[in-house]
């Protein structure tokens, strides 16, 4: 497993891509979940009882930063199928959408635009934020291991 990770991330472009995915996902998700604020001052804040939500965001960002570049590596270097990148992007999006709505500006915009359907969707995404994030993490973990497995096989064949 470590050999595969070294193979992918020894390539500078994929390392940078991974860092960009991690930092941008962390920043956006922490901001929309109100763990960081930029106005009127930059401040970080984890309210009591929100530690699990914070941890899931960190795990989700780390997994996305690992799985998406690994699958892009498969596509660009090994010219293989794009099937697994679908799983990694799907997992990242599902994890990001959960909790994005709630009572913040995104939830308000969704409810204002889509009315009662938007309100129902917002309520669902808010009520099941933690289970949806856990589901997204499960999808990303499965994608991670299947990607490692297929990279092992494909690299043995190709190199």
């Amino acid at each position: 497993m470590l050999k595969i990770l070294k193979l992918v991330f020894s390539n500078f472009i994929f390392l940078i891509l991974s860092l960009i995915i991690f930092s941008s996902m962390m920043t956006v998700l922490l901001f929309i979940s109100e763990f960081i604020f930029f106005e009127p001052f930059f401040v970080t804040h984890i309210p009591s009882g929100s530690e699990l939500g914070f941890s899931l965001i960190v795990i989700l960002s780390i997994l996305s930063a690992l799985v998406i570049p690994m699958n892009l590596f498969r596509i660009t270097h090994l010219k293989n199928s794009k099937q697994k990148i679908g799983g990694s992007i799907f997992g990242s999006i599902v994890g990001s959408v959960a909790g994005a709505c709630s009572c913040g500006p995104i939830g308000f915009a969704v409810i204002s635009t889509f009315g009662s359907i938007g309100a129902t969707a917002t309520a669902f995404l808010t009520n099941y934020e933690i289970p949806i994030r856990i589901l997204a993490i499960v999808i990303l973990v499965i994608t991670y291991f299947t990607t490692i497995k297929s990279l092992k096989t494909e690299c043995q064949v190709n190199f």
Partner: protein, 221 residues
């Protein structure tokens, strides 16, 4: 001729009685509020009673929804410290204005607070709603029955509270407050405006920690 006059008289009296009866039984929204009350650009006339010293130099206007979990977080984490350091010391007062947009139970919960206000228990009821808030929106924790149960726990007169809540006496008041939020550019809850003595107005979006409020308030007092 006399008979015609008598019939006409009866008709006129019937109409007067009918009109009087319909006016007395209709749901006329009349409540004792100061319609001129504003804080900065915000009309808080239909909002909560003022928490703290009404003559305090600084006012925090909070826009909130009783089903919003971030409002709940702010209520638990930040508000107690603001109460202790600023409101109880007479430096700041606070007005809560409803922005009930999250779910179907949100407006009803906001209306219930004004029904409690009729019995001078607005803030006690407000606090009991945020204390009892459950994490799921519209799961029934703030339906009419539960709202009545909260009132019962505060020893409110249940006949008048139930009549107030069931009649929708304060529905327009809550709608007015939510419109006031939109008019002032509030795009989520909780949303705050801190208004200083010279009407300078600082917006703070979201359930920000005490340190942020402290920094803003200390520059204004």
């Amino acid at each position: 001729m006399k008979k015609k006059g008598l019939i006409l008289g009866i008709i006129i009296i019937s109409i007067i009685i009918g009109v009087a009866a319909s006016v007395s039984s209709s749901n006329v929204e009349s409540y004792d509020i100061d319609m001129t009350r504003t804080h900065g650009s915000i009309s808080t006339a239909m909002g909560s009673p003022i928490l703290g010293d009404p003559d305090a130099p600084v006012t925090i206007v909070e826009f909130g929804d009783y089903q919003c979990h971030q409002c709940h977080n702010w209520f638990l984490d930040t508000k107690p410290m603001i109460m202790r350091d600023y409101i109880e010391t007479g430096k700041v007062n606070l007005v809560f204005v409803d922005f009930a947009f999250l779910g179907r139970d949100s407006p009803k919960a906001a209306e219930a607070t004004y029904c409690a206000d009729d019995q001078n228990k607005y803030w006690e009821y407000h606090d009991s709603l945020y204390t009892a808030q459950e994490s799921k929106i519209d799961n029934g924790w703030a339906n009419s029955e539960r709202l009545k149960a909260f009132a019962f726990n505060l020893n409110l007169d249940m006949d008048s509270f139930n009549e107030c809540l069931d009649s929708g006496k304060y529905s327009k008041r809550v709608q007015y407050n939510s419109q006031e939020a939109r008019d002032n550019g509030v795009r989520g809850t909780p949303g705050f405006f801190i208004i200083g003595p010279d009407f300078e107005q600082h917006p703070i979006g979201g359930a920000q920690p005490f340190s942020v409020f402290q920094r803003v308030l200390d520059t204004m007092i």
